[in-house]
Every structure is written in structure tokens, then in C-alpha cells.
Amino acid sequence: MTSTPDLESREPLTPLREGPLPGDPTPEPTRHGLAHALRHGRGLVGVVLVGIVVALGLLAPLLAPYSPTEQIRDANLLSPSWQHWLGTDALNRDLLSRTLYAVRADLMVVFVAVPVGAVIGALLGLVTSWWAWTDVIAQRLFDVMLAFPALILGILVAAFVGPGLVTVGVVIVAIEIPVFGRLVRTSVRTVREMPFVEAAQVVGARPGWVMRRHIWPHTLEPLTVQLAVSMSVAVFIEGAMSFLGLGVRPPAPSLGSLIQDGVRLMYEAPYVALGPLVLVVALVLGLLLISQALTEARRV
């Protein structure tokens, strides 16, 4: 048998498609959630970096070979060795232990003070933006709060309660309240014009219910992005305040105070600042990568 091409059963010819034709439905860009952004690419790197720093801080009591304030005999400004991985400082203290415990001070600032300020600010913004007169008052108050640079605020708070980690926390809460208050207000203004909010009001929903059910979920995404940005800024503020002597009180360590110690000794002992500097950069970089990944995920 000769094989003749079976012309009849051939599938009907379709025009070659190299791109969308006029009239095609435009493809919906796949929009992944924010959680997806954190499991891939840049976001994942950020999560891993932040995760490592958090783990080091949380496990400090298990990982640290010495107490952070213990003064070890005959261990003045030793270079890194098997005995002291990061060396010792001018007061004979083990730098690895100090660095690990210092992370905890920064974790308090980043994961306690920033969220507290964010929640207070977001709730204030949410509730006050609903009525015109509370909105005006709250926004002017936020303006006033935003007008003080962080360090001036720090100097002021320190004048009241003295330097310390609490002072840093108060300053960060005070900085974040207006930031989140304004952010929430912007989304409330956008969402409340939408038809479904109007519909809810028509059927008699109370303001509290509408806020909880319709407005709040819509403000969550921009809040998450801002949270990551604010957290990275908080690390810097802690560092700067400790640097100016407004932050943790010695002998307690924080990453900022350790870097300050280290860079002052940079000439004789260049290794002192190394560990804390690496951890600060890892923490800030991780948070920045997370915020970039989240921003990108929202843009799609």
C-alpha cells in the first residue's frame, strides 16, 4: 500500500498566531497575593535574611558562649579566635555574646514598637477619617507629629524620661502613628466611594460594620508594605539614637551601640564593628527586599 496523505482527517487549518488579534479578550495579568511574593525571588531572600537575624536574636541565650556583660579576665581587645569568634571588646567582654544579645534590642524596636505604632495609627486613621470634623482634627495633628524629625523627637523624649530602650520605642511609636494614620485615611477615602460601600449603607449598615467588613480589608495591603519600610527605618533610628547616647544604656548592648563602640576602636581593633554591622545590614536589606517584593506584587 502506498501511503497517501489522509487529507480528510486533517484538523482544519488555523491562522498562525503570533500575538493577540484585534477583538481578542485582553489576558488578565495573573495577580498573586502578597504571600506569593514572599515565597519567591527577592521576597524569599528578604525573608531568609530577616529570619536568620530573628533566629539569632531569639536563640541568643542558647548560642551565646558568655553573658553579654561578663568581663573575662585577660581578654582585652582580643582578635577573633576559636575562643572568642568575634573577639573581645575594650572592657573584656565577648563580642559574639554581646552581638547576639544586641539583636534582641533591635527586635524589640522592629517587631514591637513599629507594630504598636502602626496599629494605633491605623485605627486612629480609620475611625477619624469617617466623619469630616474628626478627620480635619486628626489630619492636622498628624501633620504636627510628622513635622518633627525623628532625632529631635528623640532628644525631646529623652529630656522627659532619660535615655533608654523605652525612649527609642516611644519615639518610634510616635513616628509611626501619623505615617499609618495618613495611609489608612487615603485608602478609606478611595474605598468609601465604591458602590458596594454605598450599597451597604443603603441597606442600613452602621459605620462600625462597614469599616470592619469593607474598609479594613482594603487597607491591609498598603499597610503591609509600609510596615516593612517602617521596620527598616526603625533599625536606623535605633542605631542613630544609640549613637547619640539616647538609646540603650550601657552595659546593655544594641546593634547601634556596638557599631558605635566598634567604629571608635576601628584603628586598633577593626573587627569590633564587623559582626553588628553585618547583622544591621542583613536586617535592613532583608526588610527592604521584602518591601520591594510586596510593592511589585501589588503593582501587577
Partner: protein, 319 residues
């Protein structure tokens, strides 16, 4: 437009008024009595009362506030308590130093960003882009105080070519070469984060412009890419970059406080610090109000410029 401008002006004045009352009240609440500091440890109640009366601190709060406001409006703020000299002179001297430092940083940041982003787009090489992005990350992720101390170590200790801190001893005008030497390190440290933000923004804006249809047309007409970048894309990308630059001014002024502390630069930031620790109310009050004023006026300017650029706001009520 007129209605919008008036309402923005009104709310700016309201914020200034509210914060001026807040500032004066807040300082009275700070623990630590300036009279006790001034009079010294072995003072009698009578001498303290005399000092209190002389400074006007025995008057009710609203009278103190009114007196201060009057002094503010007439530019006669009287003597400082402890820092020595007239408050107006102290603030003016500090403001000059801070403005010079901030302006130098702004200049470095904008020129540096312009050069870096135009060069990156012109050459369009992956290694250069990677290098710039790495530099950007370092400038953003390493704390400013660490960078500034590293700069001091590199250029004042290891390579002793620049002074480690302080202000030029003869002022800025008489020895400009010396002034530049003193200014260089703090200005670089202050400029770095702003440079990073601006460079990233301008590079992205340039690439966005290069994807626009008019660039394709220009390419089709045979105009070389270099000329398109310099004569077409850059002028179109610049206005939005100027807006970003304006937003950086406030950040730079805030950052100047830290840089002034690191480099012992006698500007407003150091004056605030000294003033609060000495409980020198007249000095601190003016400085705090100044910082609020700079912030709200920057906001006002940016709002008004945006309103002017947005015809929906500009033309409202024009008919």
C-alpha cells in the same frame, strides 16, 4: 484654585499655631528647672526667685507665650539663658552652617545622580548597572553614622588628607578652599542616601522615556541614541526627578542632625541638643518651631505645585 490656595494656607497657619503652643507647653513640662541650673547648687530661694522674675518665668503660661510670640514677630528674641549671646544670633549662625551643609549635600546628590544615571543609560552595560545597583544598596542599607565614621577613618585617619570634623575656622567666604575641605566628608555622608534614591529614580525615568514612541520615531530618523538620551529623554525625565529632589530636602535637613553630631559641625542640630540639655527654652522653642515651619512649608509648596500641574484643581472655579 484661589479657594484651594486659601484653604491650604489656612490649614498651614493652623498647624503652625497649634505646634507653637504645643512646643512652648511641652518645654515647660520637661523635668529640670532652668532657674535651678542657672542659679547653681548653692543658691538661696531669694536669688532663684529673682532670676525667675528676670526671665519672666513667674508669669502665667499664656503671658509667657504671648511675649515669646511678640519677640518672634519683631525678630527680637532676647538673650539665651545659658548658651551665651542673643538667641537670634545663635540661631542665625547655626542656620547658616546647616544650610551650607545641606546645600552642599543636595548639590553632590543631584550632580552625582545625574552623572551616574545618564552614564548608566548611555553606556547601557550590564556590569555598570550591577555596580550602580550595588552602590545604591550599600548607600541605603548601611547606617549613615557607620558610613560617616568609615569616611572619617579612611580620609582623616588612614589617609590624613581631610579634617575629621568641625567647621572651617575662618568661615566660608574668606578661605573657600579650606571650607571645601571641611565640608567634603559631612556633605558626602549626608548626600549618600539621597544620591541613591535620586539615581534609582532618574535611571528608571530615563529608561521609561526611551520606551516611548517618540524615541522609536527619532531612532527611525537615524538620530544616534546618545543624542536622543541627552536632548530628548533627559529633558522629559527631569521634571519628575526635581519633585523627588524637593522631597529629599526635608530628609536631608533631618539627617543633618546626626551628621552634625558625628562631624562636630556647629549647626542647628547641635544647637537643639545643647539647648535641651541646658534647658535653654528661648533657643529650643525657636528651633523646634523652625523645624515644624520648614516641614509644613515644604508640604505646602509641593501641594501647591501639584495643584498647579493638575488642571482639575487649577481650573476649578475659574468659570
Amino acid at each position: 484654585m484661589a479657594h484651594y490656595v486659601l484653604s491650604r494656607l489656612g490649614s498651614t497657619l493652623l498647624v503652625l499655631a497649634l505646634s507653637s503652643v504645643g512646643i512652648v507647653a511641652l518645654l515647660r513640662l520637661v523635668p529640670g528647672d532652668p532657674v535651678a541650673i542657672l542659679a547653681g547648687a548653692d543658691s538661696t530661694p531669694e536669688s532663684r526667685a529673682a532670676i525667675r522674675a528676670e526671665l519672666g518665668l513667674d508669669q502665667p503660661f499664656w503671658e509667657q507665650y504671648a511675649g515669646w510670640l511678640h519677640g518672634l514677630v519683631t525678630f527680637d528674641l532676647g538673650p539665651s539663658y545659658r548658651l551665651g549671646g542673643d538667641v537670634g544670633d545663635l540661631v542665625a549662625a547655626g542656620a547658616l552652617n546647616t544650610v551650607v551643609l545641606t546645600a552642599a549635600a543636595l548639590l553632590l546628590a543631584s550632580v552625582g545622580a545625574l552623572l551616574a544615571s545618564v552614564l548608566a543609560v548611555l553606556l547601557d552595560r550590564p556590569w555598570l548597572t550591577a555596580l550602580l545597583s550595588a552602590g545604591n544598596t550599600v548607600a541605603v542599607a548601611v547606617p549613615t553614622f557607620a558610613i560617616s565614621l568609615l569616611l572619617v577613618l579612611a580620609f582623616a585617619v588612614y589617609l590624613p588628607v581631610l579634617p575629621a570634623g568641625g567647621a572651617p575656622p575662618d568661615g566660608f567666604a574668606s578661605r573657600p578652599d579650606l571650607a571645601v575641605q571641611y565640608l567634603l566628608l559631612p556633605a558626602i555622608a549626608l548626600a549618600l542616601p539621597a544620591w541613591a534614591t535620586l539615581t534609582r529614580f532618574l535611571t528608571e525615568a530615563l529608561y521609561t522615556q526611551l520606551r516611548a514612541p517618540y524615541v522609536t520615531t527619532a531612532r527611525a530618523l537615524g538620530i544616534p541614541r546618545r543624542r536622543i538620551v541627552l536632548t530628548q529623554a533627559l529633558p522629559n525625565a527631569l521634571p519628575s526627578a526635581v519633585t523627588v529632589l524637593g522631597l529629599q530636602v526635608g530628609t536631608l535637613l533631618g539627617g543633618a542632625i546626626l551628621i552634625e553630631a558625628v562631624f562636630a559641625w556647629p549647626g542647628l542640630g547641635r544647637l537643639v541638643e545643647q539647648g535641651i540639655s541646658a534647658r535653654d527654652y528661648p533657643v529650643v522653642q525657636v528651633l523646634l518651631l523652625l523645624s515644624v515651619a520648614v516641614f509644613v512649608l515644604t508640604q505646602l509648596a509641593s501641594d501647591l505645585i501639584h495643584a498647579w500641574l493638575d488642571p482639575r484643581i487649577r481650573l476649578k472655579g475659574a468659570h
